[in-house]
Amino acid sequence: MQHRILSKDSLAAFLEGLRKEHVVYAPKRDKKVPNKMVWKILEPGESPLFEFANTDMSPKDFVFPQSECLMRFRTGEDGTSVLKPIEPEPRKTLLFNVRPCDGKGLSFMDMIFCQDEQTNDVYWRDKRERTLMVGLACNNPCPSCFCHEANCGPHSETGLDVLMTDLGTRLLLKPLTDRGATLVDGLPEAAPGDVDRAEELKGTVEASMKPVIRTEHLEARSLMDAYNLPYWDRVCEACINCGTCTFVCPTCHCFDIQDETTPDGEEGRRVRNWDFCMSPLFTLHTSGHNPRGKKMARVRQRFMHKYKYIPMKRNGEVGCVGCGRCVRLCPVNIDIRDVINAMNAPAEAKPEGQEV
């Protein structure tokens, strides 16, 4: 598809066009917490920000809300349950200036929520189909980013409808889907020099990102070998077992479903909430048994899931896009890059099948 060019002077008119059919959101500085970036509606007349690292929370909330009502129910006259589905919202959402890692994040979760005909989550799919993403390539990755080593990259296109590259006073727009092509239709075509300039930028930015993780031994290592690494006993000492890393993560997707009823039990709703593997409650059985009763087992689970179980089941794909949010926001600075390298390092394993 043909690249387009958009002068930042004409941005307001372009955004106004987008607003006709979409509610446009963009990363903005939080009013209360000055270093925080949040997804907010980009109001008419407001200019989007181009100089920022990324939002503190990933945009997964747009497609997979932290709390989502799945249906309502009430007791009918004959005592039977009457279920009332939730009407899908008709509005379309457009995420403007979404970072490539977050485009990849939603694309990764498509694979989880919509695996096949049997596993085709309507709540996810519906909102995903109504959410368009106009990406902004990263020209200045921050020191905690490692997207280039997590099957992603600062100019990655996966999951996005349009990828924009900031050329200074102008933006180069590359449509990536039919929806994206419709969005940019009407903008002037880009000159070959602009496309070359964007390619050059991509090369410079990628080259500026130093290699930080190694996974070759981890890929070869047996599951039980990685599972039984003595390292887990040490890394968990600092972990406070909060949910920060999972909640800010653009690929963490675990949830819990609860029915909430009125005190008389006559009416209620079924709600899906984000859940997190760091919480003991996550795996607590009705019997009282907890297969991950110890903190070490819970800490291990998160990293094993992302860098061992998912790659094994999904052909080398990892459950991580290298956005660095958990690195920046972990209250005790547990750095996933260190953990990956420790999982990759040759180490003496404990005997197999040890009880945790």
Binding site: N35, D56, M57, S67, I240, V271, S279, P280, N333
Partner: protein, 326 residues
């Protein structure tokens, strides 16, 4: 880094392990990115060489010591030492199993405030981190194009909120203190933190409270980093019966914060770890400041000044003031 303190902590920790006086030392090591420190448990004298002290040791190591049954030494500034005293009183740690390596503290810095000052720029290094309260830090970094910067920032402009009003910067009840004491208070008026609440009527208080916690994502980092929160199962994690809803409904979010604050009333040392830990930057102290002021005013109690005094809300006296029951 803070060289004198770092070296003194390493030496003290090393000696304790070499002489077999403790089984482990809990301290901080350099974070993987600037403006961060990572809690670390050292078991050998060699591992002690990794310990550091910096302006970004904003967690609370008493939480890591809490519940341990081995003999541990903990690197502790004023607030953390008071939490350790409290934990001894509450039988979470046996005093004979505890060794407090005290660090006179000049106040921790708030990485969010530093980041806000340098918004849009990468922070790649902390070049200078002086051991003077009114000193200046130097931070800097480069962008992908190789353009670099350095910025000098006054410590007093970016301190954590709680460190401006600290009442006990020197460790309390420490077994050793690694450097000369600093001035006991930070200078700010701790009672002033709660002043806005005094002016508000009940409706306004509720409004401000609701606004303060509206961004909470219920990750529970504030609870999990807090040395006062050691319940085996927190009330929000109880599933049978389930006391608190699991959704983002404001009633559930607010229930958590109110109940947690009341559980901590009269025990909080204002260490600020909850605010440092919060990924959303929520000001937890807006709530605790008023509770602690009430405890100071009504009972004249300062938590953790020794390991024998019962916190006022854990005890009853016939002459307890009752004016607040209205």
């Amino acid at each position: 880094m803070m060289k004198t303190r770092t070296e003194a902590i390493r030496a003290a920790a090393r000696t304790l392990l070499e002489e077999g006086r403790v089984d482990a030392v809990i301290g901080y090591v350099q974070g993987t990115i600037p403006l961060r420190a990572q809690p670390f448990v050292a078991y050998t004298p060699e591992e002690c060489d990794r310990f550091i002290w910096s302006s970004f040791c904003g967690g609370n190591l008493a939480s890591i010591a809490s519940g341990r049954t081995d003999r541990v030494a903990v690197v502790a500034q004023g607030c953390v030492s008071r939490n350790l005293n409290g934990l001894v009183h509450e039988n979470r740690i046996q005093r004979e199993n505890l060794y407090i390596i005290g660090v006179p503290c000049i106040g921790m810095l708030d990485q969010r405030k530093v980041e806000a000052k340098l918004f849009g720029r990468n922070i790649e290094f902390l070049k200078r981190d002086p051991e003077e309260d009114l000193g200046e830090i130097v931070v800097g970094g480069c962008n992908a194009m190789g353009e670099c910067y350095e910025e000098v920032i006054k410590r007093r402009d970016v301190k954590r909120d709680n460190c401006y009003t600290c009442m006990h910067r020197n460790p309390v009840g420490a077994d050793t203190v690694v450097v000369e004491p600093v001035s006991e208070t930070a200078g700010g008026d701790i009672n002033a933190v709660a002043t806005p609440w005094m002016r508000f009527d009940a409706d306004r208080r509720w409004e401000e409270f609701a606004k303060n916690f509206e961004d909470c994502i219920r990750c529970y980092a504030c609870r999990d980093v807090c040395p006062l929160c050691y319940c085996t199962t927190c009330f929000v994690d109880e599933s049978n019966p389930q006391w608190c809803g699991k959704t983002q409904d404001s009633a559930d979010v607010q229930t958590f914060h109110i109940l947690r604050a009341f559980h901590c009333a009269g025990r909080c040392t204002d260490c600020g770890a909850c605010e440092s830990a919060c990924p959303q930057g929520i000001k937890m102290r807006r709530l605790t400041s008023m509770l602690e002021k009430d405890v100071r005013t009504l009972w004249g109690h300062e938590p953790g000044m020794d390991s024998t005094t019962k916190p006022p809300l854990s005890t009853y006296r016939p002459d307890d003031p009752e004016d607040h029951f209205k």
